[in-house]
């Protein structure tokens, strides 16, 4: 059944009304017009969900399949298997030779890639729109007919181990984050990174990969997203042709629960770096929780904006830090917010941590200014509008909220939450989540 969803953005005008109050003195201001985001939705009998976003400006189509499986689904012992499976998906099927996927896509003048994250794995092809069927066929073949040759698999494992050395072990921040995250999440599958532990990569066999593939690569555990110069009915018909005969399967997930953290955790890491870094990890709820909007606003006010509290006090006034920032990792399981500061020198590290805590305390006790909230709302409004320049980026936003939360309307809900956001909400989330007992601090210190 085809449905057309329109993202109602009239509420954005209401946000703008709130923001516009600061422009009361300015005359001749134009009204912002906000274009609508349209897409079509279908669902096959076997559970495969299909979203189609049209943009006919250029004759290109982006086809992607998102599997609801990532490193949070991995038990210890086979960490990294989701990502290793992603690599294995390029080694051929019963009809396609090794790397033939790349060759076929390139032959039509397209590009392709894949990626694994904590809670999904995605494969995409960007091809001339007349060649959409090729992308459909490739991913359908790979969903069911993957060939896992042990020799090729072992060779590809070496490539993945190389990738781990390159991206994690040889990188100060990534290798530190791996240890900090492991300290913070001791029972849940966020204990390990997407790339997995080297010892687990060594031990994973081609049989393990086959089991994992069979378990998770099913139509009812996937979302198809197509954007660009495409016709929704054609997409629907092709999806039925190539995926309609596939049977759904029961997907049993790993259920691990991280016990509540009751005390601050601290880890000190010595790395080859001239500047120290303080990384502070706070546990937060799942990414569709109503508090996430307020948490992101708090991060902007506290560390991200150029007028943020920490940058203004610690960088510009007191000259104790070089940089500060923060981001949230919002997943289908409880995730985390990571805030970092870069002290001027190792000698300043504990003073910086103390001053950071003071800024947080001040925010809670003295409150957030109205203009700070307006800056946040303005930034989000701007980002929303600019994101509409690229339909595939808008499509990815909807795709991640579907594959994580089965909720394509999260985008709209968050707009509404932002509209309703008050300074009290920001203080409330600061008191609830940004407390010492909920924090793991990593001090990344120069080795010498």
């Amino acid at each position: 059944m085809r449905k057309i969803f329109k993202v109602l953005v009239l509420s954005l005008l209401l946000i703008l009304f709130g923001v516009n109050s600061i422009y009361a003195n300015q005359s001749m201001k134009k009204e912002i017009f906000i274009p609508k985001l349209d897409y079509s939705h279908f669902k096959l009998d076997n559970g495969l969900e299909i979203y189609v976003f049209e943009d006919h400006k250029i004759p290109l189509a982006k086809f992607s399949i998102w599997y609801k499986v990532g490193s949070v689904d991995e038990p210890e012992g086979i960490s990294g298997i989701s990502h290793l499976l992603e690599h294995t998906m390029f080694l051929g099927t019963d009809s396609l030779g090794k790397n033939q996927v790349h060759q076929l896509v390139k032959a039509v003048g397209g590009s392709n890639n894949a990626g694994t994250y904590y809670d999904y794995t995605t494969y995409y092809e960007e091809v001339p729109s007349a060649k959409l069927e090729l992308a459909m066929a490739i991913e359908a073949d790979r969903m069911r007919n993957l060939k896992i040759d042990p020799k090729e698999f072992n060779r590809e494992k070496e490539v993945v181990k190389q990738e781990r050395r390159m991206r994690v072990e040889n990188n100060v921040f990534s290798s530190s984050l791996e240890e900090i995250q492991a300290k913070a999440f001791q029972e849940s599958s966020l204990h390990h990174q997407v790339i997995g532990w080297m010892k687990d990569l060594d031990n994973i066999t081609s049989d393990d990969i086959r089991d994992y593939y069979t378990r998770y690569y099913a139509p009812n555990n996937a979302v198809m997203v197509v954007s660009g110069d495409v016709n929704p009915e054609e997409v629907h018909n092709l999806a039925k042709k190539y995926y309609g005969s596939y049977q759904p399967q029961e997907v049993k997930r790993l259920e691990t629960i991280e016990p509540e953290q009751k005390l601050e955790r601290v880890i000190k890491l010595e790395k080859v770096t001239r500047v120290p870094i303080i990384a502070m990890l706070y546990k937060i709820p799942k990414g569709d929780h109503p508090d996430i909007v307020a948490i992101n606003a708090l991060l902007d006010i506290l560390v991200n904006n150029s007028t943020s509290r920490v940058k203004t006090e610690l960088q510009k006034k007191k000259r104790m830090i070089l940089e500060a920032g923060g981001f949230t990792v919002g997943l289908r399981k409880p995730g985390y917010a990571l805030l970092y500061t870069v002290p001027i020198s190792e000698g300043m590290v504990y003073d910086v941590r103390y001053e950071f805590d003071q800024e947080l305390k001040k925010l809670i006790e003295q409150g957030v200014q109205k203009n700070e909230l307006e800056i946040v709302k303005k930034r989000v409004l701007k980002d929303l509008i600019f994101s509409q320049k690229d339909i595939s980026s808008a499509a990815d936003t909807v795709a991640t909220s579907v594959v994580r939360y089965n909720d394509p309307t999260l985008y709209q809900k968050n707009i509404q939450r932002l509209k309703n956001l008050t300074t009290k909400d920001i203080i409330r989330v600061a008191k609830k989540y940004f407390v010492r007992d909920n924090r793991t601090i990593g001090y990344i210190l120069p080795k010498d």
């Binding site: 600061i22 422009y23 201001k29 134009k30 912002i32 274009p35 250029i58 004759p59 290109l60 099927t93 009809s95 396609l96 790397n99 033939q100 790349h102 060759q103 076929l104 390139k106 032959a107 039509v108 003048g109 590009s111 091809v127 001339p128 060649k131 069927e133 066929a137 359908a140 060779r155 590809e156 490539v159 190389q162 050395r165 040889n170 100060v172 039925k240 042709k241 309609g244 005969s245 080859v272 770096t273 001239r274 500047v275 150029s306 007028t307 203004t312 960088q315 510009k316 070089l322 001027i344 203009n371 307006e374 800056i375 303005k378 930034r379 701007k382 509008i385 600019f386 509409q388 080795k447």
Partner: protein, 495 residues
């Protein structure tokens, strides 16, 4: 009714019929030749102000946004060794505070109006870019005017900015990528300004020479309306924008009115900027040289190997770029990826880059490998180049076709927005002296390229005997294989 039921059953069975996957299915689906694209030049108005400032205006009412892209001719080649890095310091100061906005006020102005504005520093030019919602158009124009025209270098944040830059440089010395670039470019470009940015030691030493006065002098000598060009694209009205630009930019460079005279001010200061053209000297001592920068904690060996190459006017640039994509385009089908990743599993990624500047360029291959594989990886890179060059494994028509086909599909994507097109136009026309339709000329040229021509060009312009190879990694794990082969390696210990 029976017929209808029969039809419905047949229809359902057809829909759910399993697809037979085989080689022929995919081959049939993959037959495709993309049309040769044509990039439409958007309607624009070019304005040249009396003070030499050039602005391009493009209306685009699809979204309520306004975006700016600009260039200031000159760049790093305007620097001298004792003040290496002064361009970056200068733009950092310009974007932090001005004569009329202190640091806090400027940051607040940007945040409250949702304005993003920043600079870039390149070898031959400075660049700047800004964006805002169209309700804040005058705010971003006035901000840009203030930043470009009213810098303040003797500000109280001067010392802080210097300290931050110093710390950043000190940190860069611990990073393999930065060390790799330092030792590669300072040998390729020797004492030329093109080497300055990557030479961490030079930048650290020069920092102590940079004062507010030297920043002011550098600004006065190198930033002028006469060498500045920018484009404004978005939800604007051309006529109103032209009036606004007159208001904010027409006085840039004007001499202060003489109070004794009653005549109106009509003269501009000496506005011409002397664009420097130091020659790039090629050092043949680099040919075949191998430098290993020892980093005992490195788990990988990073490799950058290359040589001096042509400038922006290289007559066979388009043909060479396409031929080089066959050799090392970075995708799975390139010769280098096929050999070093797919067949041997040495690398995660590898690519060959031809890089051009106005006064001379560089060509290099970069990758990283396990330390023990370093020697062999370098040999394989050279062998792949030689095998094309000597005709043993010539560039094939279908290889070249795939590259051309890919470019034809993705050129329109790269130039999908009016901003991207006009940005390329102002660069081509105002900085490089090319014509407005240069983009389409490039498209036409590569579509006319044959494998024979690509082969000829790659053979003529690839120089495996000239490789300067720089490696950053643990010498204990890398050197043994080189010693075995009798290869001289210069080992550098980082202080």
């Amino acid at each position: 009714m029976l017929l209808l039921a029969f039809f419905q059953v047949t229809y359902s069975e057809t829909v759910l019929a399993k697809v037979e996957y085989n080689k022929e299915l995919f081959e049939n689906l993959a037959v495709n030749k993309n049309k040769i694209p044509h990039i439409d030049i958007p309607d624009y108005k070019r304005i040249e102000f009396e003070n030499g400032l050039i602005v391009y205006l493009v209306e685009d009412h699809q979204l309520p946004t306004v975006e700016i892209k600009g260039y200031i001719n000159g760049g790093r080649r305007q620097e001298v060794k004792s003040l290496a890095g002064i361009s970056s310091f200068m733009v950092e100061m310009m974007n932090t505070g001005t004569k009329h906005f202190n640091e806090k006020e400027l940051a607040n102005y940007k945040d409250i109006n949702g304005i993003d504005f920043g600079f870039g520093v390149e070898n031959d030019y400075l660049s700047f870019a800004g964006s805002a919602l169209s309700t804040d158009t005058e705010e971003i124009i006035s901000l840009m005017s203030e930043i470009l025209q009213e810098p303040k270098f003797n500000a109280n944040y001067f010392t802080r900015v210097k300290q931050e830059l110093y710390r950043g440089l000190a940190q860069a010395k611990t990073q393999e990528s930065n060390l790799l670039d330092m030792y590669f470019y300072k040998n390729i470009y020797k004492n030329h300004p093109y080497s300055f940015d990557d030479d961490i030691d030079l930048n650290i030493a020069a920092l102590s020479n940079i004062t507010p006065d030297s920043l002011q002098r550098f600004y006065d000598q190198n930033i002028s309306p006469s060498n500045t060009i920018f484009a404004i694209v978005g939800d604007i009205d051309t006529k109103r924008m032209e009036k606004m630009l007159n208001k904010y930019f027409n006085q840039w460079g004007m001499i202060e009115k003489d109070e004794k005279q009653s005549t109106e001010k009509s003269k501009y200061q000496e506005l011409e900027v002397e664009i420097k053209t130091p020659a790039v000297e090629i050092d043949t001592e680099n040919y075949g040289r191998v430098i290993l920068v020892n980093k005992p904690d490195a788990t990988q060996a990073k490799i950058k190997m290359g040589y001096n190459f042509f400038d922006n006017n290289f007559k066979d640039k388009v043909a060479f770029t396409m031929a080089n994509s066959v050799y090392g385009g970075g995708d799975f089908e390139s010769r280098l990826m096929d050999n070093l990743r797919t067949k041997k599993g040495f690398v995660y990624g590898i690519s060959a880059t031809d890089q051009y500047n106005q006064l001379g360029g560089a060509y290099y291959i970069s990758t990283e490998v396990k330390p023990a594989d370093t020697y062999q990886a370098i040999q394989e890179i050279k062998e792949e180049m030689i095998s094309i060059k000597n005709g043993e494994k010539k560039i094939k028509e279908d290889e070249l076709f795939k590259i051309i086909n890919l470019y034809n599909a993705f050129f329109p994507k790269s130039y999908k927005s009016k901003l991207s097109v006009i940005n390329r136009i102002i660069y081509n026309v105002e900085l490089e002296g090319r014509d407005v339709d240069y983009i389409n000329k490039v498209i036409k040229e590569y579509n006319q390229l044959s494998a024979t021509k690509a082969q000829k060009v790659f053979t003529e312009y690839s120089y495996p005997q000239r490789f300067l190879t720089v490696i950053v990694g643990n010498k204990e794990k890398i050197l043994p294989k080189f010693k075995e082969q009798g290869i001289d390696v210069e080992v550098v210990e980082v202080k």
